[in-house]
Every structure is written in structure tokens, then in C-alpha cells.
């Protein structure tokens, strides 16, 4: 299917066909359009309404309370911990994935033997759900000390690396960073795949030209390749960023419900369904939505504009 053929054919039949085509198109996307309107945008609207209501308990109570729920969150010490944990998790997770992903991609791009094998190997963790990852790493990162050492701590002990033994997610304040490590393990292969595709799109002639001009290998990457794959970094940043804002399952599987490792998504679930504070739960939901939107909307706007320019 040559692109050229389509370009030549299209203008001729434009008027009649396009009309028919677009009607069919609209018809075919109707089911998903309706589903999305109801189940996504409808419920966003409903959640927004609940978030400014006094709803507490089993029965819906839509009494308007303005920004009370949001103001209460702002002074809620548990929500402070949530925000702090989200920030630490996001930094460790996103930077970890970007650096490891880029590193792996560059190594593979060097034309290693059996590249396909390694590519699959690094990508495989992504096929596992966060729950499974959490259960496995819960054991690996067992914080027990003394005679009960197990998992990675036991490995460190046997290898004589005693100074590395730590209490992982039991560490005060920074425990959440330990939870981010399995997430890095899981998603850095995916980041690698993104970067690898980006690297492959950089023409060899550009690198050759840089080398001919006397650039060192480091400079080739720093000055030529990296600027060219900046859009890939941006995409990866957005995808990883919104995953980390919404993280829930990994933490539940690794550490259960505990305030020390709380994040907004877990607080939202427990306060809504354990405590029946529907108004507060909806408010947390809206905060999450806005924080993800801050990441995603500029990105969508940017890509749409780029596509229009093409």
C-alpha cells in the first residue's frame, strides 16, 4: 500500500466518497463514543459534583459545601504524607526509568549480537501486572533483621555486603523510594523500547558527519543524538509521570494499607469505601485528575499542533 497511490486517488473522488466515508466513520465510532461520553466524561462530571457535596455515609447527600472538602485536604496531615510520597515516588521512578531505559537503548543500539533476545528480555517485566511484581518484591525486599533476614538482605549478608542491608519500605520517610524500585524494574524496559525506536530514527549520516568533524562518541550523543530524540524523552516523561501519579496496586501488594506509604489513590479508596466519606474521596479523585491533566493536556496540545504543522 503505497502512500503515493492514495495521495493521487483521493482528490479525484473527494466529494462523493468523503461524505459517505465520514458518515460510515461516525456510525462505526458511535458505540465507543457513547461509552466514552457516559463512562468517562459523564462520571468525571458526577465526581466533580460529589467532590463539592457533603456526602458522608451510605446515602447520597448532594448538599453543596463549596471547596470545604478541598480545604480539609489541604490541612489533612495524611494528605501531606500522600503528596510527599507521590513526589518521592515520581522522582525515583521517572528518573530511574529514563536513565536505565536510555542506557539500555544505547547499548543495544551499538549493534550487540543477539539484540532481539536482549530486547525481549528487558521488555518482559512490562508484561507482568503490578500486583504480581509487588508480591514478588515484597519477598525480595523483606525488611526483617537479625536471624530472620531474607530476600535481598539475605543475599547481601551472604555476599559480605552487610552495609547494604536495610529495612527497605520500612525506612521512615524514604520507604516509598524502595517501593519505586520494582516499578523502575518493570517499566525501564518499556522506556528502553521507546528510546531504541527514537535512536533508530536518527540517520547514521548525521552521526557520521559529526564523527568526521572530530566529535568524540560522547559528544555525538550529547550534541547530536539527544537533541533529536527529545520528543521521545517527553513522551516517556508523560507516560511514566501519569503512571506514578496513579500508583495504587503496587503499593497495596507490597505494603498493604499503611499511612507511612500512603498515596492519594489509596487514601481515596479507603476513605470512600472503608469510611464512607464520599465527598472527600471524590475531592481526592479530582485532585488526581487535575494533576494528571497538568501533565497530559500540554502534551496533547503540543502533539496536535505538531501534527497540524506536518
Amino acid at each position: 500500500m503505497a502512500v503515493a497511490t492514495a495521495d493521487i486517488e483521493r482528490p479525484k473522488a473527494k466529494h462523493k466518497l468523503l461524505k459517505m466515508e465520514s458518515w460510515w466513520g461516525v456510525l462505526w465510532i458511535m458505540p465507543s463514543l457513547i461509552a466514552v461520553m457516559v463512562f468517562v466524561y459523564g462520571f468525571i462530571g458526577w465526581t466533580a459534583r460529589v467532590s463539592v457535596s457533603a456526602w458522608k455515609g451510605l446515602l447520597a447527600d448532594y448538599t453543596f459545601v463549596g471547596d470545604d472538602n478541598f480545604a480539609a485536604l489541604a490541612s489533612d496531615p495524611r494528605f501531606d504524607i500522600d503528596i510527599q510520597n507521590t513526589i518521592i515516588f515520581t522522582i525515583v521512578f521517572v528518573l530511574g526509568c529514563l536513565f536505565i531505559g536510555l542506557g539500555l537503548a544505547i547499548l543495544l543500539d551499538k549493534g550487540i549480537r543477539g539484540e532481539g533476545f536482549y530486547r525481549s528480555l528487558f521488555l518482559f517485566p512490562m508484561a507482568i501486572s503490578f500486583i504480581v511484581t509487588g508480591v514478588v518484591w515484597r519477598w525480595l525486599m523483606n525488611p526483617a533483621q537479625g536471624d530472620r533476614l531474607s530476600g535481598l538482605n539475605l543475599l547481601f549478608d551472604k555476599m559480605g555486603l552487610d552495609f547494604l542491608i536495610n529495612s527497605w519500605h520500612g525506612t521512615p520517610t524514604w520507604g516509598i523510594a524502595a517501593v519505586a524500585l520494582p516499578a523502575v524494574w518493570q517499566m525501564s524496559g518499556y522506556t528502553m523500547a521507546l528510546y531504541l525506536a527514537g535512536l533508530r530514527a536518527v540517520p547514521d549520516s548525521l552521526r557520521e558527519a559529526a564523527r568526521v568533524d572530530g566529535a568524540s562518541e560522547f559528544q555525538v550523543y550529547r550534541k547530536v543524538v539527544m537533541p533529536l530524540i527529545r520528543p521521545v524523552t517527553l513522551s516517556a516523561l508523560i507516560i511514566l509521570g501519569h503512571i506514578s501519579l496513579k500508583v495504587f496496586d503496587l503499593i497495596i501488594a507490597m505494603a498493604g494499607k499503611q499511612v507511612a506509604l500512603d498515596v492519594p489513590a489509596i487514601y481515596m479508596w479507603t476513605t470512600t469505601f472503608d469510611g464512607f466519606f464520599f465527598g472527600r474521596g471524590a475531592a481526592i479523585g479530582m485532585v488526581l485528575l487535575f494533576s494528571v491533566a497538568i501533565l497530559v493536556i500540554p502534551y496533547l496540545w503540543y502533539t496536535l499542533r505538531q501534527e497540524r504543522d506536518l
Binding site: P31, S32, R78, T271, D274
Partner: protein
């Protein structure tokens, strides 16, 4: 053009998949409705009566116990089909989320499981979803066979709202007898003795003589230490409003609790309650405070009472039975009200409770059980149940409604992070104001 056709098929396929996925996702929440809401037709085409009972008993001794009780129900009421709508996961959290959405949609099951006390009253009575059962208690004579101190804890304004099928005790301390005798300690009976014993063990080189598990087990420890510190009258007073959360008794209780925490293991947050019990069996720790389901776990491991483990009321709480209970309610506008009452009659009967409890590892709420069916620990619990002052458990839904409990849970979780006694007490006062 061929590609375009393929694309069109792909689009249709995707759209259908999306719709299917949306429906599928929806089903997950409500599939119990599908088989539960309808009466089933039996062979001759006649309508058979049914009763839909909703619970989170999907595994272990609970599900096995429920099955035993269903067998009794099948023999007493053979004309009623029992529809078991159990939802798995999250220690009931998932089930209660499903139940909440069904009640909001006016599609109640006939009867459902809940912890007796405020967990049911604060949520379902407040929302006008369940019926008082005083008539059934009178009719079946249950008031004569259940402890007097129990009834007010499961009532609201004189109305009794649920039928307790089993009783668990929260204020039990489990100990390793070998560790105790090696250290020359006898089972402590007061909070002061308890702390002395823990000090002795710590001085003897035991890091964490008191084993604790993840966050909710810290609330369990908290409620038993509070009861020991305050006594039953003040403890009850906290929940009916006659004792303030800002009182000195509460401050003292929090300080005792904070002291108890200093003897616990540093990896508590990574352990389940079973893991914590295991530490006692292994002799890594000497004590564990946990409800008497811990005994079921010990037995499962083949441990022998008196040899591998011993028990007592939590030091300072002797003479008090801090209880929790699984119970069944009658839905308002139950689709099959008569069948539901028949089910509740079985659930409260001697026969039903003696079928359920030996399997579940708990004692009946009635005090006329067949003692030959129960083991050594359960017999001791039965004796205490019949003679002790009954007080309610916080962690397991008796004394506070769900909202209040979840606020207290947050406060205790924050306390594990920052250890700030004053902030904890302030948070307790706020929790009562927000949801009490």
C-alpha cells in the same frame, strides 16, 4: 481499498471490544445480582422460594462454617433455596463496596453479613436499610440465652438490629511458655506487670518481646491497651459520649500504648497477623496480642495448646470480654422477607451456631452450646463469655461506625509515623467530631 476495508473491520472490532469490556467491567460488580435477584423455577414449573444471603465468606473456616450452617438450613427449610452471594477480597472491603452500590441502586440482598454493633448500625440503620429484629428475639427466646451486656452493644434506641452467629474475643495475649519459663516470668496480670516482664525480656537480649503486624493490628493492640488502662466503664463511655477523648484517662491510655509500641518489632509493617503469631511460636518474640482467630492459625500449624502456646486475657483486662461478632441482618424491603426470617432463625438457633462455630473456630453467641464440640481454648472463652463483662471491639466494628473507625485508623497510622501523643489525642477529638 482493501486495506481500508480491513481497517473498517478493525474499527468495528475495537468498538465492540470496548463495549464488551465496559459491560464486563460492570458485571464484575453486580454478577451476584443476576443469580440472586430472580426466583428459580424447579422441575414442575412451580416457583421455589429463595433467600439471598450476602457475605465475604469465600474461603477458609468461615466459608466452611457457612456451608455447615446452610446444610442445617436445608434440612429445616427444604422449600427455600439458599443463594450464597459471597464476594471475595480485601477482608470484606470489596464486598462492602459492592453491597453499598447495590443498596444505592435499591437492589438489596435479603440478608447480609456484618460485624455486630455500630459498623452495621452506623451505616445501615442510619441509611434506613435494615429492620429491627426484636420480634424475632422475643419469639425465639434469644434474650434468655445471650449475655445481658451484649444486647445494648448491638442495639440502637432499644432496637436490636442483627443476629450474632459467632463470638470472637479481641483481648487475648498469646505467649510462648518456653520463653516465659526460661526468663522466669509468669503470665502478667496487670499492665504494670506486663511492662516489667517486657523489660526483663528486652534486658535478656530479646529485641522485640511483643510481636505486632501491619497497621490494622496496631489498632487492635491500641484498643486492648486502652481497655486495660481505662477499664470497661471509661472505654464504653468513649463511645456513648460520656467520657471525652480529651480526658486525662485517654492521655494515659495513649502513653501506655506508646510504651507498648516500644517493645514491638521494627518490621511490623511488613508482617501479617499470622506472621506476628509465628514469631511467638518460634520464640523470637514472647507475646502477641491478637484476637482468638490466632488460635485457629496455631492449630492449623499443628501447635499444641499449653505446650507451644499459652493465653490469657490481655494484662489488666481480666474479667472483661472484648468481643466482636459476625452477624446477619434483615434488609428493609427484602425481596423474600419470610425466607430471610427463616434464615435468621436458623442463624440464631443452637443447632445453627453449633454447626458454624466449631468449624470457624469461634464460640456461639448463645450460652447453651454443646460443649463436647469445642476445644480447650474455646471452652475457656465460653466460660468467660458467660461470666465476664462484655465490652465491644473498635477494630472489628462493635463500638464505632465505619467513618469514625476509619478516622481513628488514619490517626493511629500517623502516630506510627510521627509518635506525637498530643497530635494523636487532638486527632481523636477531631475524629469524633467528624463522624461520632
Amino acid at each position: 481499498m482493501k486495506t481500508r476495508k480491513t481497517l473498517r473491520f478493525a474499527a468495528v472490532f475495537l468498538a465492540l471490544a470496548l463495549v464488551a469490556a465496559a459491560c464486563g467491567g460492570d458485571d464484575e460488580g453486580s454478577d451476584t445480582t443476576v443469580d440472586g435477584g430472580t426466583d428459580t423455577t424447579v422441575d414442575g414449573g412451580t416457583m421455589m422460594d429463595s433467600v439471598e444471603v450476602f457475605s465475604w465468606w469465600t474461603g477458609g473456616g468461615e466459608a466452611a462454617g457457612l456451608d455447615e450452617m446452610i446444610k442445617i438450613f436445608a434440612s429445616t427449610d427444604p422449600d427455600i433455596e439458599f443463594v450464597n452471594s459471597a464476594v471475595a477480597g480485601g477482608a470484606g472491603t470489596n464486598a462492602r463496596a459492592v453491597l453499598a452500590s447495590r443498596l444505592q441502586a435499591n437492589d438489596p440482598p435479603d440478608s447480609w453479613q456484618g460485624h455486630a454493633g455500630q459498623e452495621l448500625i452506623g451505616t445501615y440503620v442510619a441509611a434506613d436499610q435494615i429492620e429491627p429484629l426484636n420480634f424475632l428475639y422475643d419469639q425465639e427466646g434469644w434474650l434468655d440465652v445471650m449475655p445481658d451486656t451484649l444486647i445494648p452493644l448491638i442495639s440502637n434506641d432499644g432496637n436490636i438490629y442483627s443476629v450474632p452467629v459467632n463470638i470472637h474475643r479481641a483481648n487475648v495475649v498469646w505467649a510462648n511458655p518456653t520463653v516465659l519459663s526460661d526468663a522466669g516470668i509468669s503470665m502478667p496480670t496487670s499492665l504494670a506487670d506486663f511492662f516489667t516482664a517486657l523489660d526483663t525480656l528486652q534486658a535478656g537480649g530479646m529485641d522485640a518481646p511483643l510481636a505486632m503486624g501491619e497497621q490494622w493490628t496496631s489498632m487492635h493492640l491500641f484498643e486492648t491497651i486502652m481497655l486495660a488502662s481505662m477499664g470497661p466503664d471509661d472505654w464504653n463511655g468513649l463511645w456513648d459520649g460520656s467520657v471525652g477523648w480529651d480526658s486525662a484517662a485517654v492521655t494515659q491510655g495513649i502513653e501506655d500504648y506508646a510504651k507498648a509500641l516500644t517493645y514491638t518489632n521494627s518490621d511490623a509493617s511488613a508482617l501479617s497477623w499470622q506472621d506476628a503469631g509465628q514469631l511467638v511460636l518460634d520464640g523470637t518474640s514472647a507475646f502477641n496480642i491478637m484476637g482468638d482467630w490466632q488460635e485457629g492459625f496455631f492449630r492449623e500449624l499443628g501447635s499444641v495448646p499449653q505446650t507451644d502456646y499459652v493465653w490469657a486475657a490481655v494484662p489488666g483486662t481480666e474479667g472483661n470480654f472484648q468481643f466482636l461478632s459476625d452477624s446477619f441482618v434483615l434488609a428493609k424491603n427484602a425481596p423474600h422477607r419470610d425466607s430471610a426470617i427463616a434464615w435468621l432463625t436458623v442463624a440464631g438457633s443452637n443447632q445453627g451456631q453449633d454447626a458454624f462455630n466449631p468449624v470457624k473456630g469461634s464460640i456461639p453467641a448463645r450460652n447453651d452450646a454443646d460443649r463436647s464440640l469445642y476445644g480447650e481454648y474455646l471452652l475457656s472463652a465460653m466460660d468467660d463469655w458467660a461470666s465476664n463483662t462484655v465490652v465491644g471491639s473498635l477494630t472489628h466494628g462493635v463500638v464505632a461506625n465505619d467513618s469514625w473507625k476509619s478516622e481513628i485508623d488514619t490517626a493511629l497510622g500517623l502516630f506510627l509515623v510521627n509518635g506525637d501523643v498530643e497530635a494523636l489525642q487532638t486527632a481523636f477529638v477531631a475524629a469524633q467530631a467528624a463522624s461520632g
